[in-house]
Amino acid sequence: MLASRRLILAHFWLAFGGFILALFLGAWQMFIRSPLHGWIGNPELYYRSVTAHGTMMAYVFPTLVAMGFGYAITEVSLGRPLTGRNWAWLGFALVALGTVVAIIPVGMGRASILYTFYPPMIANAAYYFGVVFVVVGSWIWVALTSINLRVWRHRNPGQPIPFAMFANTVGAYLWAWTSVGAAVEVLVQILPVALGLTTTINVALARVLFSWTLHAIVYFWLIPTYIAYYTIVPRAIGGRIYSEPMARISFVLFLVVAMPIGIHHLFMDPEVGQGFKFLHSVFTALVALPTLLTVFTISASVEIAGRLRGGRGLFGWLTALPWRNPLMLALAFSFVMLGFGGAGGLVNMSYQLDSSIHNTQWVTGHFHLIFAGAIVIMYFAIAYDMWPHLTGRALASIGLMRTQLWTWFIGMIVLTVPWHYVGILGMPRRMAFFDYSTPTTTAWAGWVDTSVAGGLIVLISGVLFIVVLIRGQLAPRVDPGQYRFSVAMHAPRTLPAALNSFALWVGLMLALTVTNYGFPIAHLIGLPDAAVPAIYIGGG
C-alpha cells in the first residue's frame, strides 16, 4: 500500500535536488583548496560554500530522505494510508521553506559559520530560523510516525509491530530526543544574540548542547540505511532476514547508546571534565555493538539468498549472489565503506588516540566515508528500489545504476583515503587556503590532488544518479505490483514486550542522558563569567 506517492516523491526530489547542488559546492571546495588551483583571495567565499554544503547535506538532505522513506514505511508496513497526510505536507512545506530561508543569508555571506554554528560566531538570524523550520518540519514527521503506529496498534491489539515500522519508529524517537540539544542551543542561547537582545554567549554550554545532537544525528542519518539493509536488500536479492528479534535488538540498542556519547566530539575542549570524556568514550565504544550485530545478521541473510540460489560450500554462496543486481552492489559497497569508516572511528572515539587526529582532515575523511559513503549509497539504493512504485514507471537503466554505484564507491575511496592520510600528516581541517610550498606541507600536495580526483568521480556519479531518476520519471508507465519489504526466515508470531514497544529503551536513553550530560550542563549553566562577546559574521 503506497497511497501518498506524491508526498513521498516530493520529499525525495527535494532531497536529491538539494543534494546535487551541494555536491557541486563540495567538489569546488576540494578543488580550490588543492594545489591545482591558486588562492581564491577571499576566504569568505570558501566558508560560504562550506556552510551551504554542510547545511544541505547534514540537515536538509538526510532529513527529507528519512521523512519520505519513513512515510513509505508507515503506509507499506502498516498496510493503510497515512493518517494526517495534510500535516505531512505541512511538515514538507516547513522543511522547504526553512531550506530557502537558511540558504539566502548563506548566499549573501551573512551566515558563513559552517553548519555546526560555532558560537561565538553569530550569523544573521534568518539562518537559524531556517534551520529551526527544517527541524520543526521533521518533528511533524516524528509525531505522525507515532500517531500512525498508535492507530494501527489500536486496530491490531497484541500483534507484533511490523519490523520496518518498528525500526522507523526507533529512528523517529531517536531524532526527537537528539534534536533537543541543538534546538535548545539555537532557541535559548544563539537566537537571542542573533536578534540583538544580548551580545554575549556561553560558548562552553553551547558546544556541550550541540554535542548532544552532533553525534546521534549521524545515527538518525544511518537508520534509513540500516532499515534498507534489513527490509529491502534481502527481498531484492531473494533472501530472508536471518533473525528478526536480533534486528530489533540492534535498533533498540541504537536508541539507548547513540545519544549519550556526544562529548567524544569535545575531547580537546577544556570546559568538560575528563571523567565525562572517559564515560562518553566508553559508551561510544558500545555503539559498535548494534553495527556488529547488523553486519552479522545481514551477512547471514545474504548467505541465505546465496544458498537459495544454489551456492554450496564455505564460500560458494558468495559467487552465487546476484552481483549484477544494483541492490546487491550497493549493500556490498556500503559494508566495505562502513568497515573502513568504522575502523577509523575507533581512533576518533579513543580519548588518547583522538589527540593525534583531532581537527585534522582525518575527521573530514571519516565522516564523509561513513555518511557520504556507507549511508548515502544506500539512499541511492532506496530510491532505485522505490522509484517504479512511486512514479508508476519502469526504471530500466540497470547498467547505468551499476555504473553510478561503482563510481560512487570508487570515488569515495579515492576521495577519503588520502583525506585520512593527510590528516595523520597533520593537515588541519576547516581551512580555506593551504600553502603547499613549505617543507612540512609539500608532502600533502600529491595526496590532496588525488583526493580532488576522487571528488570529481563522486560528482560525476551524483549527476548519473539524477540522470537515472529523471529517465525513470520519463519512462513509459508500468504496473510495478505491490511494494513489500523483506520477510524474516522465521517471522515472529509473538515477541517479548520489550521488543515490541519503546518505553524501556526510551527510558534508558533518558536515564543515560541524565547521567552522561546532566552534570556537565548544570555545571556550565552555573559557571559565573562564562559568557564571551559574540562575533557577528558578515554584519550579523
Binding site: 565525562f276 559508551f283 521488543l499 514497544s501
Partner: protein
C-alpha cells in the same frame, strides 16, 4: 502477548537491560572519575573526592605564585581603547604643531620624511601616541628618538599624535599587484594577512597605516622584530609574524607598502 508488564522486576528484559546499562555506567564512571585521575603522574590529589571533582570538570584555584618572572626586556605598557584619546580640536592640533618643530629635522616640515624616517602625515593618532609612550618608557629604544621624547608629558604626546593625524596623508603608492603575504598571509605558518591590520583591507586600533612609508624603514623594522631587537609589540604579535616571514616575503611586503624617497 503484552500480558506481561514491561516495567516489572519479573520481566527479564527489563531487569537485564537496566542492570547491564547501570553496571557499564558505574564501572566506566569508576575508571573515569577515580582510578584514572589517581593514576596521573603529574597531578596529585589530596583525596579521592578532589580527584572526582577534578574529573567532573570543576575548576580548582591555582596555587599562589611564588616568584614572578620578569621579562628580560621592558615591554609596552600602553593600554589602548577606542576612547583612550580624546577627540582632537584646533587647540591640541596647534599645540602639537608647535611641539613638532623639534621633529621636523627627520620627519619633515609637514610630516613627510626625506631621510628614511617614517612619514607621519595622516598617520593614525593612536599609533603615534603608542610609539611615543613606548619610547618614553624604554619599551622601544632608538638613539635619536629616546632622548627627544624623554621629557614629553603624556598630554604632549597626545597633542603630537593629533597634529600628525591632522596633516593630509600622502597619496597611496601604486605598486602593482598585491603580494600574497599582504593579501592572504601564510595561514600554515600562522601569519595573518598584513593588509588585515595595516591596510588597505582593514585597520586595527593602535596599528600604523603603512602605505607610503619608506621601504628601508619598513624592512629595518621587520628585521628588528624578527631578531627581537624591537619588542614593543603587544603579545609578540609582530615578532611572531616577522619570525615566520622569509626574506623574500619581508622584501615583498616592504616594497608593496613603501615608497623610495
Amino acid at each position: 502477548m503484552q500480558a506481561q508488564p514491561l516495567f516489572s522486576p519479573r520481566n527479564p528484559w527489563f531487569i537485564t537491560s537496566v542492570i547491564v546499562t547501570a553496571a557499564i555506567a558505574l564501572i566506566a564512571a569508576g575508571f573515569g572519575f577515580i582510578w584514572l585521575p589517581l593514576m596521573e603522574r603529574n597531578t596529585s590529589f589530596a583525596d579521592v573526592w578532589t580527584a572526582i571533582c577534578s574529573a567532573a570538570g570543576l575548576t580548582q584555584s591555582s596555587p599562589a605564585p611564588g616568584v614572578i618572572v620578569q621579562p628580560p626586556a621592558r615591554l609596552s605598557g600602553v593600554f589602548l581603547t577606542a576612547s583612550t584619546l580624546a577627540p582632537s580640536d584646533a587647540v591640541t592640533i596647534g599645540r602639537g604643531a608647535t611641539l613638532a618643530l623639534r621633529c621636523s629635522m627627520c620627519h619633515g616640515a609637514r610630516g613627510l620624511s626625506q631621510a628614511n624616517s617614517p612619514n607621519l602625515a595622516g598617520q593614525y593618532a593612536p599609533a603615534i601616541y603608542k610609539q611615543l609612550q613606548d619610547f618614553k618608557s624604554g619599551a622601544r629604544v632608538n638613539a635619536v628618538m629616546s632622548p627627544l621624547v624623554a621629557d614629553l608629558t603624556t598630554q604632549e604626546t597626545r597633542e603630537l599624535a593629533d597634529y600628525y593625524a591632522y596633516l593630509p596623508r600622502p597619496p597611496s603608492p601604486q605598486n602593482g599587484r598585491v603580494p600574497e603575504i599582504v593579501e592572504s598571509g601564510a595561514p600554515v605558518r600562522g601569519i595573518a594577512p598584513c593588509g588585515a591590520c595595516h591596510g588597505p583591507e582593514g585597520h586595527k586600533l593602535g596599528t600604523p597605516w603603512l602605505e607610503g612609508e619608506p621601504v628601508a624603514y619598513l624592512r629595518a623594522q621587520l628585521l628588528a622584530f624578527k631578531d627581537g631587537t624591537r619588542h614593543n609589540d603587544i603579545n609578540q604579535i609582530m615578532r611572531n609574524v616577522a619570525r615566520q616571514m622569509t626574506p623574500a616575503e619581508i622584501d615583498a611586503a616592504a616594497q608593496f607598502y613603501g615608497v623610495r624617497p
